[in-house]
Amino acid sequence: MYDINHIYEAKSVEDAVRLRMEQPQATIIAGGSDLLISIRAGDLAGCDLISIYMIDELRGVSLDDDGTIRIGSLTSFAALTKDDIIQKHVPVLGEAADKVGGPQIRNIGTIGGNTCNGVTSADTASTLMAYDAIIELTGSEGKRLVPIEEFYLGAKRVDLRPDEIQSAILIRPESYQGYEGYYYKYAMRGAMDIATSGCSVNVKLSEDKKTIVDARICYGVAGPIPMRTRSAEQAVKGLPVSKETVEAFAAGALQDVNPRTSWRATKEFRLHIQGELARRCLTESINRAGGVWS
């Protein structure tokens, strides 16, 4: 039995925005797979909720005319993984979503909730950040677009204004065309776990597949929010596809990450794993892109 005072059911995005303004004390609930945990723990006892879960217009993936991939915020992990557009253009995002929890959670959990929850371990967040995704927020004054790196303000804090909901996540064509990526979720067991560290890498290779034109890397659980390690990205741009390049990439990544020791893992262990993940994810991304090793 959950200690919930009242639930307001939004019928449309406008309705949700109106409820946001009328009930400023209320919290948005989508799939509830993060929120209900907090309510059960007593953190939000007696809360008011605005449910957006029935707003079907927020579900599904589509391609805009300019090639932008538009992911509705209520799209579930399972739907994301199975989606044709995702499989064709950013399969790594579908694979990352498929690493979440177990089948039940992948059916109820949404990509909007995964990002708005503001945690560093969120399995889709590092891939979205590694693809320079744009967060679309809808409020009383219409839509606002924020790059995902700016959307994350700090642990459990995102740039969501009191009258807004997150309506979609966008990936621009220049961010995904020609890129191949790979995500590794490092966890203590094969399912139903939160990442000890996650790493998402993608690369764009030269025409002859021998040189790295661009590489991007983002970690989960390397800091309070998902973290791009730009030293790694800079280090390999223009370098040949080789073992040395992979090593330079890992060394660059380790310059930027700043994991903490907690009871869940020591800093030394996290650093070791993060270095190894950079190597494996870059190697696998290059292989997926048809890279020719020297």
Binding site: M1, Y2, D3, G42, A45, G102, Y186, M188, R189, G190, A191, M192, D193, I194, T196, W263, R264, A265, T266, E268, F269, H272, I273, E276, R280
Partner: protein, 765 residues
Amino acid sequence: MEVGKCLKRVDAFDKVTGRAKYTDDMCPKHAYVTRILHSTIAHGRVLSIDTSEAEKIEGVVKVLTCFDVPDIPFPTAGHPWTTVPAHQDVADRKLLNEHVRHYGDEVAAVVAEDYVAADRAIRALKVEYEEYPFVIDPIEAAKEGAPVIHPERQDNNILAHSDIRIGNYQEAIKEPGLIKVEGWYYTPTVQHAHIENHICYAYQEQGGRMTVVTSTQIPHIVRRVVAQALGWSWGKVRIIKPYVGGGFGNKQDALYEPLCAWLSLQVGGHPVKLDVSREETFVNNRVRHAMPCHIISWVRPDGTFAARKFELWSDQGAYASHGHSVAGKALGSYPQIYPCDNIEADAWTVYTNKPTAGAMRAYGMPQATFHNECHVEEIVTKLNLDPVEFRRKNSMPVGYYDDFSKNELYHDSFNDCLDKAIELIDYDRKFELYKNQTGPVRRGIGTSLFWYNTAVWPISIETSSCRMIMNQDGSIQLMTGETEIGQGCDTVFAQMAADTVGLKVEDVHVVTNQDTDVTPYGAGAYASRQTYVGGFAIKQTGELLKEKILGHAHTLTRMPVDILDIVEGNIVRKTDNRVLMSLGELATKILYDFELSEHMAAESTYSVKSNAYSFGVSIAEVEVDIPLCKVELLNIVNVHDCGILINPPLAEAQVHGGMSMGIGFGLYEELLVDKKTGRVLNDNLLDYKLCTTMDHPDLMVDFAENPEPTSPFGTKALGEPPACSPAPAIRNAILHATGVAINSLPINPHKLFAAFTEAGLFETL
């Protein structure tokens, strides 16, 4: 014959369709609910609890604190009672405790109309504590000057110590040419994590008697403990046990039934439900004893033992529960599996300010098996011997006899099991193939033996009762004191009863719900005892019933009894196999006959005065990704000699479950306690890394069916044994793959990182 057949479980249909009723399904809707307030210090005293705000909350019925409970310390362990005071379980806790002995100890309870009210009331309670220093390491806790956890006991935290002395250790080590092998081995605190958390509800009826409906493994024992805790006479308490969603030993303790009964009394006997959360299951139920063990072996170059020394520390946590019985069992196992003429072995069970340890599947043996099998592997490595040959040569020989339990190794069980396991997993080829690997990803294969007792004789009584009631249609109702908790005993009992009386198994109706008002006495589900012990009572009672039936058959058919038999529910004349009448005809006639009328039933108690060795082996094959500090379990096989299988698929399922637990113990699970506060850090299934189906290979199982001569059905322990040997087999496989010996469980990536770093393995890649 029904015994030995692959029969469907008697409860399969009800469980699959959701008709099987568990405790919560039976609880009346108007029952009050309960929440418990847990201490936020590890050790100290409750000075005061301000309940005034909590009592004002709408829906709160009553708030009760440690200052309200009866001043009656009681024991919780699920052991049969003994009339010998020195052997009685330690009574060291009250219903709620003013003296707080671990972080999360129970200090107050709220009874309310619903959980929202109860939770709000819990948050509104204000507690003032006096804090004492605390200790969470058993070896530290046993030292002079450690914080005393039970000052009422004059034992400085050492709940008990026991020892074994064989030959003369000090003299034996003087033999020239001996090689000394020494190590410390550590097994962590883990929890049972059964699916159905503990739950019970209590109410008064029938002139003040107290009924508790509960998810328990031990209804008759719980009745006694509830009565003791309330200071009542035992007959006034009634325990009902519906279907149970697993227990693994955690429910072999009176967990909350005494408190729930007392809470109901405080609200006029109204039904009160106590439904424990997963967090409470981890912190306030029972856990497996963590056990560090120090072993020294003096070995001759040919790999035979000259002398051995064991020092075992058992982490009891805050309250005695099963106490030293667990370490005692572990200690007793060391000299038996690898016999040696000179042994010095000591075990200490020590209180710490941690969750209470109690019974958990295999009761100290997974710990002892890990200690000993790691150590043996160290000997093998140091002396460059073959691990399997060493085990064949040094393990308990055929004909071995233990003077205390009177157990004997009648068959060549270890070799039988090893031979099968080796073939199933293709051991010999892989063992050679995986020698001297280099590179970041390596494979290995490792072995472990174990032995186990069946039931607890001669430490405790092994008494089991059975009642069979004949229906007019020739079927019977079967009641035993033994408890179905998911393991399948109702099904094997039905098979045994069918064969003894001469019925088809579908004509045996097992009364699965137990009610201490009507269920005959039995000790319950623990010690892998029920199939063995229950078998004696069923056989004896079935024969009594059969005698009665044949007596009536003689009257009705005028044939001499000795040429009559009961076969598949018919009275048969043995001389020509003619069916003379069906049991249904006989039973109807006998019940309704003006002259002969009798309601046919039989009841008897059997007190078993024997025990039986059960044996087995695990072989595990792993792949170790060294840079990622990850182990993948590729294959694992368990082969058991548990005597004759009563129902092969049920036996196999039992082994699967035990192996899974062993895998968790080996690679994943550990309950972590914060050194600064004493708080359990991972009291939930996210942070407590129970392994998932994704972490299991297909589990291979086989049996060496050597009949157990003492059992009427040739059977012996299988419930707990499968959990004993997987972890050391996995550990030995990792050693084989990497050359790195890890002596502390679980072997998770954190441990591997530290061990590989220390061994300098990363630099060699």
